[in-house]
Amino acid sequence: MLATPKQLRELGILGMNRRNVSMIAAKNPRHLYPLVDDKLKTKKIAEAAGIAVPRLLAVVSQERSVKDLPRILEKYRQFVVKPSNGSGGKGILVVTHHDGDNYVKSSGDQISMESIQRHVSNTLSGLYSLGGRPDVAMIEALVQFDPIFAEYSYEGVPDIRVVVYMGFPVMAMVRLATHESDGKANLHQGAVGVGIDIATGQPLRAVQHGRPVTHHPDTRHKLSDVKIPHWDRMLKLAAACYDVTGMGYLGVDIVLDQNLGPLIIELNARPGLAIQVANGIGLLPRIKRVDGLTDVLKKPDDRAEWSMREFGML
């Protein structure tokens, strides 16, 4: 039932302790964390660097601006309200359309303007933020999810997680929500992870709860048929996040917009290790390859291309 440390070493699997000491503590400077933890800051530096992100429509940072919300929101048919320092998807309100004063949430429930204002007010006072700190509310454009994933995901929105080491995309997976994960793309809650070949964007294998699966448990679609369009664009986007954040060990979460293509929705300074299970291989050999690289590749596009050449599995 147990693997031996030797077996794991041979597979090059990165363990939690090593991740904390050699990756996070050594490669992610503490003072840069706010760039990643604060979504508003992330969005601003990303936009400034020309990295595609969901468009920021408005920011509400003061209680007195809450009363202006009807005027601000009036002109947008769809929008998402997000706490800038939220965690675990808390406090995200998605409005899919409205006519007049009737706003409709993604669940189909109606919601009044007052409720939206109260939600924003709660966000400002820190109801959804880590440690209850006062926060700001971001209002951003709703991503038009590419229907290509629709049949592979239950309820929730699939995203693509790329782990970027010193600017090089080293591993990737697609996270598909399931009924069990309650619409969340979180692997330890029962979402399905599909490892993706860095060179081609083809699926390698899929796991749920660490065990291999072949079909999505709810939609019954074959997971080996998952296809990811714009793969090289995605990797270049992910690689570019290193330059704007300075984080040596970074998790980049990407969603696919029908019209705009890949968009960065979140960065993570402490990306988890489940991606190795989804890919069936360890991170360490790839990290060593990057460490051993003598050429200096300044441009993110060059790094992404290098990764695609080096890390192909198919």
């Binding site: 039932m1 597979l11 699997i13 006072s125 109801l127 291999p212 190795q276 299970v277 291989i281």
Partner: protein, 524 residues
């Protein structure tokens, strides 16, 4: 790499210093490494407090002399700026502190170390004055006479008379006379004096005894009282509440007869408090211990040099690093998930007070009830600080209800619920409830079980008698522990839980290898 080397060097130095000091204490100063073959030595400290009124001060405290079944190892008094002499009259000893001029709050200390020695049976009898027959005021006099008349009827001699008198005085449904007499007795001391006076009235020689029950870790202790009655040629000791005869074990006789425990001239609001701490010494070194260790810097600067009340506090504080080590090992080497990193240590400290099984049950009940109530609170959309404050209040209410119900049911163990740190319980409830909302009940049970497991292991380590002995007698071993934790902090290998977590990958890898091997065979 250099950071790693630095850590190893620092750790090695710390471990060497810690172990070296401990070995020195063991080999040169004769501190035993293990608690076995040891004799309990109690150190009793009397702290005299009073408010000096800006004039010359004389404070006189009764000191223990010879006590049955107890040997005195050493004694000293410490009070800066005061002169100290010992006055002996007959078998009575008093310590007298004096100073020409004192002002403000004063604290004087007298410290004595004793150990049990069954060969001492002396009850020195002759020259202690017995209580005089004082005569009561009316209507107490009548009550006393009629009570004594009743007792005389149902007793045969001094011994049975005393027993029956104590029974009557402690009766659950006391008679009129007893009620009247006991109205005057507010403390144990009053009761002892009353008993002695009633006996004197009957013509039975009796005297009041005061002393300390020797129990470890007592702070702000007061004297307990008993009476001694002359039966034939022997003095017989009677327990005031139970009427049981025979001098109690582990009881340091402080004073015989009715003299004042403390007299202060030139001060007011005076009080005496006692604290007791128990430690262990090898049996062989006890008689010759005396002054051998004095002057050794390690002893002068050891925890033994602190006032006793602080020593007692340190006994449990010194166990916390052991708990921390358990947490580090369980986290970094095993990979057990806990709710709150150091919460298990505090829970383990509470377990020490409550005993394990009772502690676990109380913990589960309070956290369970708290989670139910917290789920109602979460519908109210409160801000974090207000929410946790609300949870704290709920926790306190649960603890109160718990105590009251269990007290009514007669379950005394459950009363120890107050030893649980309520702020920590509130945070635990808050964290678990958020976890429940975000990650579901499975994760809550996982982390809850993890926390309990770590707490129980920490508890077992912290209550181990060898570990307890080592941490208190060799606190320098903490340096070695620190070194060990520094090294563990550099551990980048796999956790035990990861061997399980990544195990399916091995299967997958081997399967694909085989498939590849199969492929190559068919192609070739």
């Amino acid at each position: 790499m250099s950071a790693r080397v630095k850590v190893y060097i620092t750790a090695a130095v710390l471990v060497l210093i810690g172990l070296g000091m401990a070995l020195y204490k063991n080999l040169v100063l004769g501190f035993p490494m293990f608690p076995g073959n040891q004799q309990a030595v109690w150190t009793i400290e009397a702290e005299v407090n009073f408010l000096a009124s800006n004039e010359s001060v004389v404070a006189s405290l009764a000191l223990p002399s010879r006590s049955p079944k107890i040997s005195i190892l050493q004694e000293d008094s410490a009070s800066s700026g005061y002169g100290f002499i010992e006055e002996t009259s007959g078998s009575m000893r008093r310590g007298v502190w004096s100073k020409r001029n004192a002002r403000g709050q004063q604290a004087l200390y007298y410290r004595i170390q004793v150990y049990e020695n069954r060969s001492i049976i002396d009850v020195d009898s002759a020259n202690v004055p017995v209580i005089e027959y004082p005569g009561f005021d009316e209507p107490l006099e009548t009550a006393a006479i009629s009570l004594l008349d009743q007792i005389r009827e149902i007793s045969a001699n001094n011994r049975t008379f005393t027993s029956q008198l104590l029974l009557a005085l402690n009766a659950e449904a006391p008679g009129q006379n007893v009620i009247m007499l006991r109205r005057q007795t507010k403390s144990d001391e009053d009761l002892a004096v009353l008993v002695a006076q009633l006996l004197a009235m009957e013509g039975i020689a009796a005297r009041v005894i005061s002393g300390l029950r020797l129990e470890d870790g007592r702070r702000r202790q007061q004297l307990s009282y008993g009476v001694e009655v002359l039966d034939g040629d022997d003095w017989e000791y009677f327990n005031l509440e139970t009427g049981i005869t025979g001098f109690p074990d582990r009881f340091l006789l402080w004073q015989r007869g009715g003299q004042a425990l403390l007299e202060v001239v030139g001060g007011r609001n005076s009080s005496v408090q006692f604290s007791i701490v128990e430690n262990y010494r090898g049996t062989r070194e006890l008689p010759l211990n005396a002054n051998k260790n004095e002057g050794a810097a390690l002893i002068d600067f050891s925890i033994y040099s602190l006032p006793l009340a602080e020593q007692n506090a340190f006994k449990s504080i010194l166990l916390v690093p052991i708990g921390a080590l358990v947490v580090v090992i369980m986290r970094l080497l095993i990979g057990v998930k806990t709710s709150g990193t150091f919460m298990p240590i505090l829970i383990a400290l509470a377990f020490i007070q409550t005993t394990l099984v009772a502690g676990v049950l109380i913990f589960l009940t309070v956290v369970g009830a708290g989670l139910v109530i917290r789920s109602f609170l979460s519908r109210l959309n409160l801000l974090l600080v207000a929410r946790i404050s609300a949870v704290i209040i709920v926790v306190i209410l649960i603890m109160a209800i718990f105590s009251i119900i269990s007290s009514k049911l007669g379950i005394e163990r459950a009363l120890t619920v107050t030893f649980f740190p309520m702020i920590i319980l509130a945070w635990t409830i808050e964290r678990m409830s958020v976890l429940w909302e975000e990650d579901g009940p499975r994760e809550v049970f996982k982390q809850g079980a993890g926390s309990l497991l770590v707490a129980v292991i920490a508890y077992l380590c912290m209550t181990n008698s060898i570990i307890e002995h080592l941490t208190f007698n060799f606190p320098e071993l903490l340096l070695a522990l620190l070194g060990l934790i520094l090294v563990l902090g550099q551990y980048t290998g796999y956790r035990l839980s990861e061997l399980r977590r990544f195990e399916p990958m091995i299967e997958h890898f081997e399967a694909t290898e085989k498939a590849d091997a199969g492929d190559t065979k068919t192609t070739s």
